[in-house]
């Protein structure tokens, strides 16, 4: 009796395996045959256009990835309601990389191999963005990153674009502001992560050109809870200002430690500090901290009545209504990444392929986004200039414009 049941179940198992094998074989052979509608100018309306996104929804950058995801979903819904891309809806596929480079690579591979997306938005962080490059190159799919590291566009790749202001724009802008204040000697403190390292490298290259001397260069590790030792050393130098390059929560600790030590130097941060969590964390010590960032923090700086002002206030209103809080700069980077792809896809004549899309993104000219006005070229895959920046000062936990 038991033997018969065993044999029966073995037979069922074999049949199931055989069926699975057959299905797999059919499925595998299918994609090699050309699609019937290919070459018809991608006219077939209704067939969705797949766009992938790799964002950090867990791990250290979750605070950045969450608003990015909210923005992408909200805007895709809006674009589809208005008819999609030339009549074809967008299918957005979002993957979480958990702020982990290996997971970012896996997510990119999945989007390319399984979902066959035509473009990838992401990642949230610089390390994750760079980690995906091998897969991007193999597949020939354009990538639009939302991370701020200069390396992303400096280590140039024809397929890779980035929407945030890169350090190569922000650093010279900040140095100009320092010079305007009559400062010639600065102390630098930065985190040893990608963003801080990158900023310091650009600072070291640009400071001599601006006639500014770096008299101290201190670092700390992400996750450190006390920077008193580094700041004590800076206190003993002839620095006239403290320049801080860090995007993490440690920035607030640096500012508090500095003020508690009685270090009264003016503090200049980076666009990594353009988050309300920084102002909240620094509290009273944050008063007077200056940093350069895009205009989204105070939309009036776009110039009232301009197209940029309209685009930004419109987006802020929609985002605030959906999520209950005003968008951070990171939400803006996601907005820009999505629309760079969508606008380019609309311009593609003939079949919409990843290669044709890449060419059109590179031809982007005068696109008014949240981060600024983008003008891409075969040598510039960021497309922003320092005209898209504004100098801010923290006052009572809010960001005010420095005239």
């Amino acid at each position: 009796m038991r033997g018969r049941i065993l044999r029966l179940s073995m037979a069922v198992l074999e049949a199931a395996l055989a069926a699975a094998l057959a299905v797999t074989l059919v499925a595998c052979s299918a994609p090699t045959s050309p699609k019937p509608d290919a070459g018809e100018g991608g006219e077939k309306s209704g067939e969705p256009i797949k766009i992938g996104a790799v964002v950090s929804l867990t791990g250290t950058y979750a605070g950045l990835g969450e608003p990015e995801k909210a923005t992408l979903e909200m805007e895709v819904e809006r674009i589809n309601a208005a008819g999609g891309i030339n009549g074809r809806p967008i299918e957005l596929i979002i993957e979480d990389d958990a702020t982990d480079e290996a997971k970012a690579v896996a997510a990119a591979a999945k989007l390319i191999e399984q979902d066959k997306v035509i473009a990838i938005i992401g990642a949230t962080g610089t390390g994750q963005t760079m980690a995906m490059r091998g897969d991007i190159q193999r597949a020939g799919v354009p990538q639009v990153s939302m991370a701020g590291g200069t390396v992303i566009t400096a280590q140039f790749d024809p397929l890779v674009f980035a929407t945030p202001w890169s350090n190569t724009i922000v650093v010279p802008y900040t140095l100009e502001a320092l010079k305007a204040d009559g400062i010639t000697k600065i102390a630098v403190i930065s985190d040893s992560g990608g963003f801080g390292k990158d900023g310091v490298a650009v600072l070291q290259a640009e400071a001599p050109k601006a006639g500014i001397e770096i008299v101290a260069n201190e670092t700390f590790n992400p996750g450190d809870t006390d920077m008193t030792a580094q700041l004590t050393k800076i206190k003993g130098t002839a620095a006239q200002a403290l320049v801080m390059w860090s995007a993490g929560k440690e920035a607030a600790t640096v500012v508090k430690n500095a003020r508690d030590l009685g270090l009264e130097l003016p503090i200049y941060g980076s666009h990594g500090n353009a988050r309300k969590e920084f102002a909240e964390g620094a509290g009273e010590a944050g008063d007077g901290v200056r940093f350069a960032a895009g205009k989204i923090l105070v939309p009036e700086t776009y110039g009232e009545g301009t197209e940029a002002y309209k685009v930004a206030t419109d987006f802020i209103a929609r985002f605030t209504e959906k999520t209950g809080s005003a968008p951070s700069t990171f939400a803006g980077h996601a907005y820009d990444a999505l629309y760079l792809i969508v606008e380019a896809a609309k311009r593609v004549q003939g079949e919409l392929t990843p290669a044709a899309l890449r060419d059109e993104i590179e031809k982007t000219s005068g696109f008014v986004g949240i981060g600024g006005t983008f003008n891409m070229s075969p040598t510039d895959h960021n497309g922003l200039t320092k005209d898209d920046l504004t100098l801010y000062e923290v006052k009572d936990g809010a960001f005010t414009v420095v005239k």
Binding site: A62, E66, E218, T219, T228, A229, K233, A252
Partner: protein, 296 residues
Amino acid sequence: MQCGTMVAELLQFIIAGLKSGAVYALVALGFTIVFGATGAINFAQGEFYMLGGMTGVLLTTWGVPLPLAVVGAVMLTAVIGAAFELVAVRPIASGDPLRIIMVTIGGSVVLRQAALHLFGPDERALRPFTAGPSLRLLGAAVERQTLWVWAITAMAVVVLAVVYRQTMFGKAMRATSIRRDAARLVGIDASAMVTASFGLAAALGALGGLVVAPLTQTAFYVGSGMGVKGFAAAILGGLGNPVAAVGGGLILGLLESLTAGYLDPLYKDAVALVVLLGVLFLRPQGLLGGRGTEKV
């Protein structure tokens, strides 16, 4: 550089080291208490540090006055710690330390993800216990919150010592950690003692997370990093000995601060690790651990 400023600098490094060290000590104490009761390392200890800070922030945003919020957060985290033991650790009938360790590693992931969903992904700030500018000591600055860190750590250590030496509960805890079977024979509920040890360890971790939150902000992800530091401190001092854990925490903090001050801040974490490895090679029982080797 003048001699005066050099002394002030050194003093500043020492103050910074003892500040971080005191927090490491609180987390390390949690490790030793659970190790004493179970013979296992509780890798979820860092998450209790995170939960303390995050629940404290949550309570203050609900309008709870700060002192009450601190006490409430410590108690809440203690309850979570005890509940974690009841749900995840107790079902391991054999009490095999290796299996307990694996369960706590899994538990730490669960607690971290739960915190992400409950509190959101952003960093949160707790306001200082007493507002005001920092105090001066021979040219060095001492933040008011640093005094709180020291005071609360000292208080926790004293209370713990009194409880362990003087009360019936403390004696039962010690008896359980020395020999579980014998403790059971004289009528001590050893399982309850294990639950209590998790609760107590969670409370100490939470206290650490709370006193440091006004200085550094807190977030759902801060637990694992602090767990490593606390574990290193506990090993450095010698596992199973509460006094040694406090010593280990302070030594680790000082080492880090002096490395950051006189060498390179980037080597800070590495130096601590090298010293830890050195101690493990030369004195496996820990720098201050004389007794407790029978555990190994």
